[in-house]
Symmetry: C3
Subunit: 234 residues, 3 copies
């Protein structure tokens, strides 16, 4: 692994840890946002930092038939991406009772997406595309849940919340389209772009979709009327 790639991963670790520290500081003055929202925002970058530390240290990847498979990315994603969906679902259900069926469905589909992605990256063509397709179907159903049932819950709940939910849902959707696109163009898929561009994409994309997402989401929730005040009104 050349120097540029290694430095990129160290940079990523630093950004994640700074992000986690920032959310911890925010949690000291929660502004009515429940503690578990901050906890999720902290867990995600800490876990991701450790996964990328293993890559930076030269351990979290292996060579499979002349291409590099960064399996540590999947160890990262299998934990952090379900948490991101849980955070998004909690935002939609901010003022309402948590719908466990919807949350578990999102987690189930997400775990399928990540595991099939891992198998895809370890498989040879054309089988890797079969696995990739299963993961893409799971992602499309996730998008359906985000934009139909979850959006409806937010819509029925509160005007300002609905506005915030649509923004964070759009933000997450756009970045999550970025992941499979980068995957497909990189060495695990078509192999059109170089290793360096692939690595850069998987450093920048998660910075925005992890720390960026939580900054955006928590900012909106902190500007909303606190749950406790709302519940006392009803």
């Amino acid at each position: 692994m050349d120097n540029f790639i290694s430095q990129g991963h160290w940079f990523y670790v630093a950004v994640m840890l700074i992000g986690a520290l920032y959310f911890y500081i925010q949690s000291r003055e929660p502004k009515g946002v429940p503690k578990y929202e901050y906890m999720i925002a902290i867990f995600i970058p800490v876990w991701s930092a450790i996964a990328y530390f293993s890559i930076a240290a030269g351990q979290g990847f292996l060579e499979v038939s002349e291409r590099t498979v960064y399996f540590a990315r999947y160890l990262d994603w299998v934990f952090t991406t379900p948490l991101l969906l849980v955070a998004l679902a909690f935002t939609a259900m901010y003022y309402t009772k948590k719908n466990i069926s919807i949350i578990l469905s999102l987690v189930f589909l997400d775990v399928i997406m990540i595991l099939t992605g891992l198998i895809a990256s370890l498989s040879e063509s054309p089988l890797n595309y079969a696995w990739y397709s299963i993961g893409t179907v799971a992602l499309l159903i996730i998008f359906y849940i985000v934009w139909v049932p979850l959006k409806n819950i937010a819509k029925k709940s509160d005007e300002k919340l609905y506005h915030h939910y649509r923004n964070v849902a759009l933000y997450l959707t756009l970045f999550w389209i970025g992941y499979p696109t980068a995957w497909l163009l990189g060495p695990s898929g078509l192999g059109i772009v170089s290793q360096s561009i692939d690595v850069t994409a998987f450093i920048l994309l998660p910075i925005f979709s992890k720390v960026g997402f939580s900054i955006f989401d928590l900012k909106g929730l902190r500007d909303l009327e606190p749950q406790t005040i709302r519940q006392n009104k009803n």
Copy 2:
């Protein structure tokens, strides 16, 4: 892997996906049965279809000292069999508060049973029988919980529910005796029956004990008086 075995696994994948679709259609008209009951019924065959897809595609097994170990079966079971027990426990507790201790005990024992089964199938004789015995002890304790505390909960709860619970518990018990029997007769155990019969058993058994079980269980629950009406009476 010869053609017959491969086609059997493709057939299995198709049956599982049709089953999942059927439960999804049922969930659109839930007849008072909570959404999470349908969700469990859908998760099970979808996960199992993906596991068997890996076998059909030639990946979910490996050769260990001249016999074939289908490790994808254990990846299937470690997720689907706890869910089946959770579904059965939810049926017993349909009208009563969910007893978390009983449910977690079932899941704990079941995970031990599947993991020891996996280790058994990777071990040489006579160590494989030691692991197999531990798994069998776990299964016997599961049967005890199904037929004593869970049955008592159903019995105290409602006459019609009790009748339904006994039927689905018997159905599950009989098929779950089939699994270790097939395992013992197959290549991982005594090796009495051929590879083809073993594969056929592990295609037919899960069709009945997964999709078959959920059809049977959901049919009974849909015929019962809905939980909500019952709770309003009390």
Copy 3:
């Protein structure tokens, strides 16, 4: 593996199973302590017994560059140590609403500690010390949670409970300092002590910190005023 080491592991399996049986017998006369407290106390030694059975049977370890890595220990710990922390947190929150954020934080940090410990024991020097340091940071944050927020919850709750909590927290803290110390002195770390002493340490330490801890913790809880009586007073 020589005879002494093998016999030590068989002894450990026996102690764990006797411990589990003892907690099961206690649970038949729960003295107001909720069933799930006994369940946790039973799960821990049963799981640990199975993990050490795999070592005793000659399977749960492998040779990595001329030293023995007992990976089954980590399979043990990744399940049992979070449960021990959950049990400790439940003791602090015995009379109060369970604080899910604190419990999930403990579990998250603990899983990081065990996984980084596993990676450390598979890594070469000096990288193993980097992983070991991450695990130590996680442990220090666990100690902070045990001695600040959890202690405060117990303190505000009840005088007698507070007294008991401080005792079990001190007990767990001292033994949990023992683990990384033994690790560091053993073959995975500095390699100062011999294989036999290392194995003996990892047989004695978990007997005290698993079965010993639960005996101590449950005894205290059984001597407290039952939750149900307390709740009826308020």
